[in-house]
Symmetry: C2
Subunit: 220 residues, 2 copies
DNA sequence: TGTGAATGTAAGCACCGATTACACGGATTG
DNA sequence: CAATCCGTGTAATCGGTGCTTACATTCACA
């Protein structure tokens, strides 16, 4: 089951002379990457500290020098995923100027697309189940900035007369629930007809986003 | 191959006393209830076969006479939860006649309320992660009937001229995504201001549902 | 250059899911 | 009534997991 593939030999190494440096170059980074890969392969449940250590070519106890617990590792993984998520959305939004409502649409589309193309990564940044509830952390911070971005865009759209009168806070929550729900349903297997990703899924995602936008837009 | 019945039997243990019945009355039922309780206490991850057996007052191996694996137990638990979910929604809908769009609103409200008041139960019926993907099972069947109910109600509303022209299939998916997303965000801790349940949460749920309905309703 | 701190190793604990061999006892049947 | 069979529970055990502790090695800085 476990294909050892003993001759990995592809490990990034700084030191050419030493065949096997006792100290790993950047074990923390490598562990996060291995865990990210595990998440991508089998979901969050598939991540085990031992397996991450195995892939990093290191003993089972080594990761605990960098992460006090499995949850801490998962949290670091989620922070990395959230960072990528936010970066991609902001990039999409920056590359798509235009009227505020159109920008809102781009925002939603980028959200949906990333979630559908990175389902397991979306899953771990979605659920707070994996983390200590005490720490709001970088995840909530990143998330808060995304929410703020959404609210700003909506406010601009309203100021431009593109929205019908409504409580913008509620519009923001409803929009968030819509895209979150669609992404999550997709991941959770509620649309058996298509896979988690694929043209039909993305077309439907676009359609329901447009339906929502038509619902909140001011009409002639 | 079965039973050598080798020696002269000679029962190693006499039946000195029978303080409690060897055979549990209905272990399967009791195990499902114990697991449901565990889900209610600490989420789906908190369910272990051993703990369920412990609470049923039975040895760690006993549950495997009724469920071939932990997943099978979880599936039975999810089926029970889904049964209750569907029953409550249908009851709420039956008790609330009126115009089709109003019935649609009742449907959504019952969905949201149940999800917010039984968050961990909603969680296990939401994610297909716990089950064999092969089996569509009673869960999908119940879910399909709920979807059908939604579609029927929407079609009635459209026939009554209460909806603006739109693809009803997309409206149904969007509506489902909205309530699913709100319920899931609530459970997943995206609304730190209020708890998973509570008056403010239910008020907000009602508000975004109304926002959505206004968006799809025909306007004068 | 020597030394302490950082980092990885090895061994082991408790818990878990799952399997297997066996013990019990109620229901069936002659 | 009595023998038996099989559904059901027990006990022991296996491999895997998170996590801790004691120890070994190497790096970085005085």
């Amino acid at each position: 089951m476990r294909s050892a593939a003993k001759s990995s030999a592809a490990k990034p190494r700084r030191r050419a002379t030493a065949p096997k440096p006792y100290h790993h170059g950047d074990l923390r980074r490598v562990l996060i990457d291995a865990a990210l890969q595990l998440v991508g392969e089998g979901g969050a449940e598939a991540v085990s500290v031992r397996e991450a250590a195995r892939r990093a070519g290191v003993s089972p106890g080594a990761p605990f020098r960098h992460f006090p617990s499995r949850d801490a590792l998962m949290q670091a993984v989620a922070e990395e995923a959230q960072r990528r998520f936010r970066a991609e959305i902001e990039a999409a939004l920056a590359a798509a100027p235009g009227d505020p409502l159109g920008r809102f649409r781009c925002l939603g589309l980028a959200y949906l697309r990333w979630a559908m193309r990175n389902p397991t990564h979306f899953e771990i940044i979605s659920s707070r189940r994996f983390f200590d509830h005490d720490r709001a952390d970088a995840i909530s911070r990143d998330n808060a900035e995304l929410i703020e971005l959404t609210e700003r865009t909506l406010a601009e759209a309203f100021a431009a007369g593109q929205l019908r009168p409504a409580d913008l806070k509620q519009v923001q929550i409803a929009g968030r629930a819509l895209v979150y729900g669609f992404a999550r349903m997709n991941i959770d297997g509620h649309f058996p007809r298509w896979g988690v990703a694929g043209p039909e899924a993305e077309r439907t995602a676009e359609a329901i986003l447009d339906l929502f936008i038509e619902g909140i837009a001011s009409r002639p």
